[in-house]
Structure formats: structure tokens, C-alpha cells
Symmetry: C2
Subunit: 129 residues, 2 copies
DNA sequence: CAGCATCCTTATCGATACTG
DNA sequence: CAGTATCGATAAGGATGCTG
């Protein structure tokens, strides 16, 4: 064992034209993180996502889902019997990514008191010195 | 037992007006992730960051750093002796956050083959059925 | 229900020039 | 060096109406 060749670092998000850069932007973009996070607890329909991701518009949600589906994070499943019924579910890759994202959002939520304190300090240092 | 009150989920990124939402956007925004990631290995000067975060403009970098400093992720240190010398370094909060972000970018980089394969499948299913 | 098409407004961005 | 200021182009975003 140990003879299989290791993957070299082929991709680098810090490089402008690396394909991983645009994928990073889809995932961490304004609605990407929240959409993936919302799907982490299970498949959801379009309108359910629309409600869950507070503030997103139909247009942006559709656009976000399209990019995430194309990148292989989300599967779109058409369950039409009568009327339209479409479900979005995470792929394996999507689940792994969403798990990471939820760790991040959880971290941020839990540290918001620090953030708010920093903002206060920052603003005060500049308005009433 | 169980009588101490648990921290309720006070902050929720899924809620439109929760302050954590804008902080999430600063951190995961187009340049936030890369800027924090770049600083994870140690303090850097403005122009060094400009080079490291490939593709960012002066304007966007300045804006990003300002938001991250205000939110308490980055400290700006003025080391002027002769000429200007400013260093940016992560705070404790910034380090914790950057660590999470690097796990995410690392995950994405390592799974890019999956992503590219998915993109190919997606595009082919729509151009030549 | 799950979208796409359209229009229109706003925000983002990049390039350039300038400053202490 | 480390930015700020300004401008014009482009993209993101919201609102509305329409369709299978």
C-alpha cells in the first residue's frame, strides 16, 4: 500500500483563471452558501427554498440552483405527477461541501458578539476621537 | 440539571436582517475568502496581498480589508518608519475563520475533477441530446 | 408549481489619475 | 508604499408578467 500516486495540487483558488475560482464563487457567492446550507437537512422544492433562503428572489434562486447543478453540487429531480413537482437534493459532493459551509456559518453565528463589539470599537474610533 | 439556560440560536444567517448575514457576505464574498485565506500564513502588506489575491484590484482589496477590519477579522498595523509600511494580520477570530475557509477551499480544489466532470455531463446533456 | 422573459434600477467593478 | 477619488462599463438584482 502507499504506492498509489498522490494528487498533486493541480488547482489553486488563488489563481485568477483556475477553474476552481469560479466554483468557489458559486459556492460562496451571495446565495450559494445559503442554498447549499438549506439543502443540507434534506431535499426541498423550489418554493420551499425560496422561503428558507430569506431574501432571495425567484430569479436569483433559479440562477444559483442552475450553477450549483452544473457544478455537480445539486441534483434536480422532476417528480411531476400532476402539476409540477421538482425537488432539489445535494449530491455527495454537495453534502460534503454543505457540511463545511455549515461549520463556517455556525462559527460565524457563534462569534457574532465578537463581531458586533469590533464594529462598535471601529466606528467609535472614527466618529468621536 | 439542565436548568442553566442554553444559548438560544440568537443569530441566524438564513434570516434576512440578522447581522450575521452581512458578516457572512463579507467573509464569503468574492474577495473575502481569498483575502482571509491569504493572510492565514502570516501578516502581509497591501501590495503583497494585491499580488497574492490574483485578480483583485486596489479598490476592491481596500474595500474588502476595511470590511474585514471593521468586523474584527483583520488588524491593520501601521509600521511606518520612513515611507509607508502597513501590515495586515488576522485576529484570533480571523484565524479561526480562515482555518475554516481553507478547509473549504481545500475541499473544492481536491474535488475539482468531480466538478469538471459534472459540468461536462451537464453541458452535453443540453447541446447534443 | 416551477420557472423563463423582460424591463429597469442599483450596485459592483476595473481603469486611471492623484496624494501623503 | 498605501492608499483615495472619480468615472464609465458591466453585472447583479428586483418587480412584474407570462407559460407549461
Amino acid at each position: 500500500m502507499g504506492t498509489e500516486e498522490r494528487d498533486e495540487v493541480e488547482y489553486d483558488v488563488f489563481s485568477r483563471y483556475c477553474p476552481s475560482r469560479s466554483t468557489l464563487e458559486h459556492v460562496t457567492g451571495r446565495w450559494g452558501t445559503l442554498t447549499l446550507g438549506a439543502l443540507e437537512t434534506g431535499p426541498l422544492r423550489f418554493n420551499a427554498l425560496l422561503r428558507r433562503v430569506d431574501g432571495v428572489s425567484q430569479k436569483m434562486l433559479a440562477q444559483t440552483l442552475l450553477a450549483l447543478e452544473r457544478d455537480g453540487f445539486v441534483d434536480r429531480e422532476n417528480l411531476s405527477t400532476a402539476g409540477l413537482h421538482v425537488e432539489y437534493r445535494l449530491t455527495r459532493l454537495g453534502r460534503d461541501t454543505a457540511a463545511q459551509l455549515l461549520l463556517l456559518t455556525g462559527l460565524l453565528e457563534s462569534r457574532m458578539p465578537e463581531v458586533l463589539a469590533a464594529q462598535l470599537r471601529y466606528d467609535e474610533a472614527r466618529t468621536g476621537p
